[in-house]
């Protein structure tokens, strides 16, 4: 598959702060590529460079073969960019915002309306409401509609689901899958590790560096160490006790259980018995599949 975005050795500093360090990856055309990382990882800097709003200190980035620093004029019509902060005009109505963005790109709203119809139809009830008066979920749908109105080849989404509840987040990812089927390439960033599984490929970004790039499944296989889920009647004492057990490399909370990263020699049955002897009730330790979040915790600790 052709790559639509190619990034080579991208580096950007703000004074003494490193925002991006030697970042290299490419995004295959027609795929959803996820940039997974916490606040401060460098995600927004990367987006600003790709959206031609910021120039890198070193390295190159091309989108559809066009250089982001030199060929930004041609490039801008190929990109739909949805920044993290609300990017619309709050004093314009829903319809006015959509028409404004269409006219910026020299298209009519009806030209590509098929693309946004499933998203925009949910706003159809209030065409004359000011954008600033919309709820969070509706603002997000309007911003996405405006970013798509000129039918870009690539959609750049910077943390579209931050602060959004789990049901709306899931709906949003459903919309992205539909857009991919219509041939749009999507680069999306998130700090929710569970969203990684909805991407074709992901890059884990931490403090300006890439910790790993692959499909979500192949990336989680890299954890290497045996992983167990542990539970007991009292979870906090269990956490403290497990950290003192032999062959336990790391232990941290993970939803309703604790995750135990173990050495090969770890004995789950023996550990259960030992914990019971310490007075913990209902102790259970069983092997479990790793997730992206487990991998991120491990790789980020290596960096520290």
């Amino acid at each position: 598959m052709n790559s639509l975005i190619d990034i080579r050795g991208l580096t950007k500093d703000y004074g003494r702060t490193t925002a991006l360090r030697e970042v290299t990856f490419s995004v295959p055309e027609g795929s959803i590529f996820g940039l997974i990382g916490p606040d401060g990882a460098g995600k927004t800097t990367l987006y600003r460079i790709l959206a031609t709003l910021l120039t890198p200190d070193r390295g190159t980035a091309t989108v559809a073969g066009l250089d982001v620093a030199r060929e930004f004029r041609q490039l801008r019509t190929l990109i739909g960019y949805m920044p993290e902060r609300f990017s619309l005009y709050p004093d314009l109505t829903v319809d006015e915002n959509l028409h404004f963005f269409a006219s910026l790109f020299g298209v009519k709203v009806r030209d590509h309306f098929d693309l946004i119809a499933p998203i925009f139809s949910q706003l159809a009830r209030f065409p004359n409401r000011r954008a600033g008066a919309l709820s969070g979920g509706m603002k997000q749908k309007l911003a996405l509609s405006c970013a798509l109105i000129h039918r870009p080849r690539i959609l750049l989404l910077d943390e579209p689901t931050t602060g959004v509840d789990a049901v709306s987040r899931s709906e949003f990812w459903g919309m992205l899958a539909t857009l991919r089927e219509k041939g749009i390439t999507i680069l999306v960033s998130t700090s929710y590790m569970d969203e990684a599984a909805r991407c074709d490929r992901i890059a884990l970004l931490h403090r300006g560096r890439i910790l790993g790039i692959d499909t979500p499944t192949r990336l989680t296989a890299r954890l290497g160490d045996p992983l167990y889920a542990a539970s007991a009647g009292e979870m906090y004492p269990l956490l403290l006790a497990l950290r003192g057990m032999p062959d336990v490399k790391d232990c941290y909370t993970f939803g309703a259980t604790l995750h135990v990263v173990a050495d090969e020699g770890f004995d789950p049955d023996g550990t259960e018995t030992a914990l019971r002897r310490q007075g913990l009730a209902d102790v259970r330790i069983r092997p479990v599949e790793a997730t992206i979040e487990d991998l991120f915790i491990k790789l980020a600790q290596h960096e520290d």
Partner: protein, 247 residues
């Protein structure tokens, strides 16, 4: 359960803005030392409910107490006996670590004689002695967050309200933060937490889920999973919140 053990006890709280009912007939008890997860879809009314509980907004109708004070008649007393932290705004970036601690302790009405000593102790406990005179804006996000929690709890409130305290934070830091919550709870503090991370809902003693201004589900995570025949809190949330009309 005796009422004296409830740090929050409210009945039929309702808040209307014009013809819009943001919070509709909210009744709730939260026990001392409990980690209470306050979940809900966007627009469900969580923020409005929390503002009433913190004494920042007067209910249209209903009654109750928070930290032993009446939410209608004694909102100023409530403000001094709670702590509040949100991810969006909790510290002054241009002030130093120590100045932030001192400022918040003063605002919460701590005696001046205690503030110095407690602030020094806190810097040590946080491992921030070396940076105590540095502006907070220079600190890594995870440090800021732990500092914000300490600033909100230095005056040892009965209850601390945490509004999405871990948004955008990396997974390891998020977990360190929850260990602070566990510790505070084991020392008897009550924690009232909102979050969009549903794995964090599993760490709470009890969880409520708000939909369209009303509490639709309230139980321990295990109880909720059983009630809705779900494997995780994520599934529970989806089942309860799927028919939300406000988004």
């Amino acid at each position: 359960m005796k009422t004296s053990e409830n740090v929050i006890s409210v009945r039929h709280l309702t808040k209307r803005f014009g013809d819009f009912t943001a919070v509709d007939d909210l009744s709730l008890d939260v026990r001392k030392g409990e980690i209470f997860g306050f979940l809900g879809a966007n627009g469900a009314g969580k923020t409005t409910a929390m503002r009433m509980l913190c004494g920042l907004s007067r209910p249209t109708s209903g009654s109750g107490t928070v930290a032993g004070f009446d939410i209608v008649r004694q909102p100023e007393d409530i403000k001094r006996h709670i702590g509040y932290m949100s991810q969006k705004f909790s510290l002054y970036g241009q002030l130093t670590v120590r100045e932030n601690l001192t400022l918040f302790a003063t605002i919460y009405g701590m005696p001046a004689s205690d503030i110095r000593r407690k602030a020094d102790e806190a810097c040590r406990a946080l491992g921030m002695d070396g940076v105590r005179d540095r502006p907070v804006r220079d600190l890594p996000l995870g440090w800021k967050q732990r500092l914000a929690f300490t600033a909100a709890t230095l005056h040892t409130p009965d209850i601390v309200f945490l509004d999405e305290p871990t948004g955008g934070v990396d997974p390891a830091t998020r977990r360190k933060f929850w260990e602070m919550i566990y510790r505070a709870s084991s020392e008897g503090m009550t924690l009232f937490v909102t979050t969009h991370y549903l794995d964090e809902a599993e760490y709470c003693h009890r969880v409520s889920i708000m939909v369209d201004g009303r509490i639709r589900a309230l139980d321990s995570p295990a109880g909720l999973k059983q009630q809705f025949r779900a494997a995780t809190m994520d599934e529970v949330f989806r089942i309860v919140a799927q028919d939300a009309r406000r988004t």
